[in-house]
């Protein structure tokens, strides 16, 4: 498929815009000098992926991304940033001074991964904005064939919750403990 052919399809224009936005946001996530900005760029990047999911008929997943990530996880992040008093202004010390090798590694990774994809999937077409996968299908799958991981993942969350609370909470000093018991 030639480039012009590819550009002939309007949906690809949409993709291009979304993809570039997503990429730019991702780029900013890892380069922003401001921690809060980085987090907000992640919102944008994930929002981009959500749009892409919609284009790929994964309606449900797209909304999950919006709700779970943008709604919950990002809030968590922002809390984390606030609590740890990360410098919210511009901070030059945010990155390590040695970026050459990480950059090379990441470029190499990109080249390798995309080369492999091109080798593997050449011109495979994706049905553009087709019939969205119905939530029913997903629901049946999750509580049917995938019920075990579904249940198990709940324990992952529970463990993360309980453990996270335990780890994150401030330990009372023995004196404080005595006081609390007295009350």
């Amino acid at each position: 498929m030639s480039v012009s052919e590819w550009l002939g399809s309007p949906v690809n224009w949409v993709f291009l815009v979304v993809a570039l936005a997503t990429l730019f946001s991702s780029w900013r996530v890892v380069t922003a000098k401001n921690v809060v900005h980085a987090a907000l760029y992640l919102v944008a990047a994930l929002g981009g992926t959500a749009v892409l999911f919609l284009m790929l008929s994964a309606e449900f997943v797209a909304w999950v991304v919006v709700l779970v990530y943008i709604g919950a996880v990002l809030v968590l992040f922002l809390f984390g940033i606030m609590i740890t008093r990360a410098p919210t202004g511009k901070d030059v010390g945010l990155d390590t001074p040695h970026k050459t090798w990480p950059a090379l590694l990441s470029v190499a990774t990109f080249v390798l991964l995309s080369w492999a994809s091109i080798q593997a999937f050449g011109t495979t077409q994706v049905e553009s904005v087709g019939e969205p996968t119905s939530t029913e299908v997903l629901g049946l799958a999750l509580l049917g064939r995938f019920v075990i991981p579904f249940e198990v993942v709940s324990f992952v969350l529970l463990a993360a919750l309980i453990g996270g609370v335990t780890i994150a909470r401030r330990d009372l000093s023995p004196v404080e403990e005595e006081e609390r018991r007295a009350v």
Partner: protein
């Protein structure tokens, strides 16, 4: 749409995530980078699913699990960050070098 355009985008995000993970000093930022990588995985899964169209929408189910696990990991990670911050008054990874030799 080509499948590859999604895959390459995912690869790019994944690589950016790796870059971030390697250069960021703040642990929260490292976590953000990891989220990028996981998002890339999700793009992969969804893109594949839209080609494969498996009856049980395996790709999408998988990505839901990935998102869930990612959320759990963020929780764990932030808890650890808090703990460390409380002890060290810093969230920079490169100050964790007690056990060098």
């Amino acid at each position: 749409m080509l499948l590859n355009q999604f895959l390459i985008l995912a690869a790019a995000m994944f690589s950016l995530g790796i870059y971030g993970l390697l250069v960021r000093r703040n642990i929260v930022l490292i976590l953000l980078s990891v989220e990028l990588m996981l998002a890339a995985v999700n793009i992969n899964l969804i893109a594949f699913e839209s080609v494969l169209r498996s009856p049980e929408a395996i790709g999408q189910v998988f990505s839901i699990f990935v998102i869930t696990v990612a959320a759990a990991e963020v929780g764990i990670g932030l808890a650890i960050v808090l703990m460390i911050f409380r002890n060290r008054k810093s969230a920079n990874v490169d100050e964790l070098d007690l056990m060098r030799w």
